[in-house]
C-alpha cells in the first residue's frame, strides 16, 4: 500500500512532505483518505454461479484469507455490497437475475468478471445458452482469465481494483467527468427479457447486435 497520493491533483512539496513523515505527520489529500477508506473495505456480494465460486470461497477462507485486503465481508444482499464478483458461467436463464442484482447495488459499485465463462463465455461460447461475456450486459472493471482462476488471481484482481479505486476522482470538479459513479446519470442496466429464440433487450436492441466486421481480405 502506498501512503502517497497517486493522483496529480495533490500539490505539496515532496521534500517538506518527507520531512513531515519523519516526524510522524502525514500530509495527504482528503480524496486520498476517502479512497483509502473505500478500497480497504470492499464488501463483495456473496453470490457464486458456477465452479469459480468454489475458488472464491477458497479465497475467502483461511488459506488465502481475503480479509488481508479488507474484502472479507460477503454480503447476502446487493443493497449492502460494493463489489459484484461474477464467479462463474452466466447462463441466459440466469442473466436477468445477475443484471437485476447489479442494478440493486448502491453506487459506487464495481464488478469483477471471474473466469473464462464470465469474461467471454469460455468453453460454452459456441453454445446456445450461455452469455458471451457478462460485460455485454453490465460494466466490468476487472477481468480475470482462467478456468477457474486460482485464488491468487482473484486476489490480484482485487488489488487491481483497489488500485483503480485509489486513483479515482471523488472530489473536485472533474470527479463528475471521470468517475462514472459521480456522473449522476442513471446507471441502471437494461434487464433482458426471455424471447422465443434468445434473450431480447427491452429497449435499444442495436446495442446487443453483432457488429459488422471490417477485415482485409
Amino acid at each position: 500500500m502506498t501512503l502517497l497520493p497517486t493522483n496529480t491533483s495533490f500539490a505539496a512539496d515532496e521534500g517538506l512532505r518527507s520531512e513531515l513523515q519523519k516526524a510522524g505527520v502525514f500530509v495527504v489529500s482528503l480524496e486520498w483518505v476517502y479512497n483509502w477508506g473505500r478500497k480497504s473495505s470492499i464488501w463483495p456480494l456473496g453470490f457464486g454461479i458456477a465452479c469459480c465460486a468454489i475458488e472464491m470461497i477458497c479465497t475467502a477462507a483461511s488459506r488465502f484469507d481475503l480479509s488481508r485486503f479488507g474484502a472479507e465481508v460477503f454480503r447476502p444482499s446487493p443493497r449492502q455490497a460494493d463489489l459484484m464478483i461474477v464467479a462463474g458461467t452466466v447462463t441466459k436463464k440466469m442473466a436477468p437475475q445477475v443484471i437485476r442484482l447489479y442494478n440493486q447495488m448502491p453506487e459506487p459499485k464495481y464488478v469483477i468478471a471471474m473466469g473464462a465463462c464470465a469474461i467471454s463465455g469460455g468453453p460454452f461460447k459456441q453454445g446456445y445458452n450461455v452469455l458471451k461475456g457478462v460485460d455485454r450486459f453490465i460494466p466490468v472493471d476487472v477481468h480475470i482469465p482462467g478456468c477457474p482462476p486460482r485464488p491468487e488471481a482473484l486476489l490480484h484482481a482485487l488489488m487491481t481494483l483497489q488500485r483503480k479505486i485509489e486513483n479515482q476522482r471523488t472530489l473536485g470538479s472533474d470527479a463528475r467527468r471521470t468517475n462514472p459513479a459521480y456522473r449522476g446519470e442513471n446507471r441502471e442496466c437494461p434487464i433482458p427479457e426471455f424471447g422465443e429464440h434468445d434473450l431480447v433487450p427491452p429497449y435499444n436492441p442495436e446495442v446487443w447486435k453483432p457488429h459488422t466486421i471490417v477485415r482485409e481480405a
Partner: protein, 196 residues
C-alpha cells in the same frame, strides 16, 4: 450381460436391437414392459439411471449404379430420420444392469409413453428430453421445460436447430466460427465504397 431372452419371449412385439443391445419397445407396451421389468423377481429393475433423447436426421444417399448397357444411373436411397428415447435400467436389489430400452418415434410428431409412473426418478430427465428435443411424454405428471425458459420455442439439441446469431468478434475465427463471422463481413459493394 443380462439375458434378454425371457423378455423377448414374454413380449413378442418387443424387438431386440443387436447393435446397441437394446430392446425396442412399442409405445403402447412401454408401461407394461417397464412395470414387468421392475416387478419380475428375476430382473427387479428398480432404478432408471438415465433417460436420453436421440435425434437422427433423414439421410439421402446417392450412389451410381452401372447399367447393363454401360451408362451410369444415379440411385437415391432415402433413410427416414427418427427420434428415440433411451432408458437405462439397473437393479439396486440384485445389483445387475443395465437393460437398455428404447422407444422410437417420428421426428415430425415425436411422442412416446412416459415411464415416470413406474420410475419417479425419470421425471426430471424426461422433462429435459422434452425441453431439448421436444419429445412429448404421454402420461408425464408435469411436462414443462426444465432448463430453458418457458417462453423459449426451439429445441436446441435437435440436429436441425439453428442457434441465435449473437456472434462475437474474434481476431482469428476458424471452422464454424469463421462461417459465422463471414455472415458479418460487409457486403462487397459497401466495402469498395469504404475503400474509395
Amino acid at each position: 450381460m443380462i439375458d434378454l431372452a425371457p423378455i423377448l419371449a414374454k413380449f413378442p412385439t418387443v424387438k431386440h436391437d443387436a447393435a446397441a443391445n437394446a430392446l425396442i419397445v412399442p409405445q403402447a407396451l412401454a408401461l407394461e414392459v417397464a412395470k414387468w421389468l421392475r416387478d419380475d423377481p428375476a430382473y427387479r429393475m428398480d432404478y432408471a439411471s438415465n433417460v436420453a433423447g436421440v435425434d437422427t436426421l433423414p439421410v439421402e444417399k446417392k450412389t451410381k449404379v452401372k447399367q447393363p448397357d454401360g451408362t451410369e444411373r444415379e440411385v437415391v436411397t432415402k433413410k427416414p430420420g427418427s427420434m428415440e428415447v433411451v432408458y437405462h435400467l439397473y437393479s439396486m436389489a440384485l445389483k445387475h444392469g443395465p437393460i437398455t430400452i428404447k422407444q422410437v418415434t417420428t421426428r415430425e410428431n415425436p411422442a412416446v409413453t412416459s415411464l415416470t409412473p413406474i420410475y419417479r426418478g425419470a421425471e426430471f430427465q424426461e422433462r429435459e428430453a422434452f425441453d431439448l428435443f421436444g419429445i412429448q411424454f404421454e402420461g408425464h405428471p408435469d411436462l414443462r421445460r426444465i432448463l430453458m425458459w418457458d417462453e423459449f420455442k426451439d429445441f436446441p439439441m435437435r440436429k436441425d436447430y439453428v442457434e441465435p446469431d449473437d456472434y462475437e468478434y474474434e481476431p482469428t475465427p476458424h471452422d464454424a466460427v469463421l462461417a459465422k463471422a463471414k455472415a458479418h463481413y460487409p457486403k462487397a459493394s459497401t466495402s469498395t465504397e469504404a475503400a474509395s
